[in-house]
Subunit: 259 residues, 2 copies
């Protein structure tokens, strides 16, 4: 089972959009896919029409059960979506209290890893949409993942955030004694602005072999798709955004095959 | 002294851009202004050329000192910027550990309030740039502020986030037994997309008198300005973005005068 974390501590760079877009393409290809929302804000949960204020069984229930020494079937926290091959593990706003409740406790870094191990026979891909901050849930996601996708907006401030994300990644890898391969995905590329081109040049100069060859362009249709609650590829299959994510997924599948 | 918090738990809606833009305009008008970065990600700190990994005295030092029972002069955490009337209290990445360290303790909700009281004679305006999450630092900011600006991207997902932000505001007001007036500022308005217009109509229908009459349009020059580390009004004074923030500030000054 492939477990991909989509993370960047900078806000608004396209994490949720990337998770939803890739999941939409994977189910079109016939893969059983689970999307997991660990952001207390619950953007992806809202995207698919559920309410993070009252999701029922959610990612939070897994943490709460673990803190009480229980380990219920994680499948109970999976809800159906618009597509038969796509399951959603929703976020709950209660996730915002995790750090205060569990931050100091040992052994809470593997709750997601253990949950996904029990779901391994049911899914081909698990995609985790991370919040724009470092905390218990993000550390869990990086521990559970076998690959990391870092969306980065092609602009100056976002590059600063990337250095921090990569330092965090280094920290988690050292404590886990394992390597987590990653790729940097340039998003919201606006070819009309000089700043975007300069940011891209800086990305390629500094991180060369880690930057995906595919750019995700600015495409206003993403906003339309989020209103309908479907991935863009399911709404406008030939839109610039959908085509770009398809190209990225093709490249990524090939990259992981060769790795 | 006016203390404005710029907050929204949704990421990437223009909080930092709004804080920097308003501060740039206030110093042009001759007001002594302090910008405070409480986001562990430190976007505004980076924007003004400082490094949130090693800022020296910062917002974090105030919290750390308070947790040790000390209360040094908060002025030591203020650093100079490009403009003589503008001071910056930088973020530190260590802010990310605040919730784990202080979350459960009492009396840590008024650290910023007490610090700003000691700076009251030195500044006319204090603007607080908040992180995209609810935690100790955001609760502090809402307690210290006498007005709240909520930037909201004009798109579907962002509207979901707004309901959550207003619920949070209600919670903090009840625990403080005081009202914190607020305004909703529509940002990144892209007149080319239907989704933006629909989102705006929904905002005005649901929150009518709380929505600022000024829209902040999409303006790619914001990215150029962030690369230079100056507010847009200092770089391209007649740009659409700078003009819009000037109109918003005029309206806000009048609104607060009448309130
Ligand atoms: N390529 C794109 N072109 C245009 N708009 C985009 C693109 N990608 C994302 N968006 C829009 O930008 C906004 C932010 O995207 P998104 O919510 O996916 O970011 P995020 O990193 O998940 O944010 P958060 O930090 O809050 O979790 C959304 O309104 C989304 O529709
Ligand atoms: N009106 C606008 N037009 C175009 N781009 C904008 C506008 N406002 C902000 N931006 C850009 O959008 C990105 C996100 O803005 P900003 O960093 O201010 O959001 P934020 O809410 O502070 O994000 P975070 O949640 O990470 O703190 C930045 O690249 C910024 O330059
Ligand atoms: Mg998101
Ligand atoms: Mg910000």
């Amino acid at each position: 089972m492939n477990v991909w974390a989509i993370a960047n501590q900078k806000g608004g760079v396209g994490k949720t959009t990337t998770t939803v877009s890739l999941a939409g393409l994977l189910v079109e290809l016939g893969f059983r896919t689970l999307v997991v929302d660990i952001d207390p804000h619950g953007s992806m949960t809202s995207y698919f029409g559920m309410d993070p204020e009252s999701p029922g069984e959610s990612v939070y229930s897994l943490f709460k059960a673990a803190s009480e020494g229980r380990m219920p079937d994680p499948g109970r926290a999976v809800h159906p979506t618009y597509h038969p091959l796509l399951g959603l593990m929703p976020a709950s706003t209660a996730l915002a209290t995790l750090d205060r409740q569990l931050g100091g406790r040992d052994g809470m870094g593997l709750v997601l890893t253990r949950s996904f191990a029990r779901l391994a026979s049911r899914y081909d891909y698990v995609l985790i949409d991370c919040p724009p901050m470092l905390g218990v849930s993000m550390v869990n996601a990086l521990a559970a993942a076998n690959f990391l996708i870092i969306p980065v907006q092609t602009e100056f401030l976002a590059l600063k955030g990337l250095e921090r994300m990569l330092r965090t990644l280094g920290m988690v890898q050292r404590s886990r004694h394992s390597r987590l391969d990653h790729v940097i995905l340039p998003t919201m590329y606006d070819r009309r602005t000089r700043a975007a081109q300069e940011a891209l040049d800086t990305l390629n100069a500094r991180y060369a072999d880690k930057v995906a060859p595919t750019l995700i362009p600015v495409d206003t249709q993403f906003r339309e798709a989020s209103k309908i609650g479907r991935p863009l590829s399911a709404v406008v299959p030939e839109s610039r955004g959908a085509v770009a994510y398809r190209e990225f997924l093709d490249w990524l599948a090939d990259y992981l095959e060769r790795a």
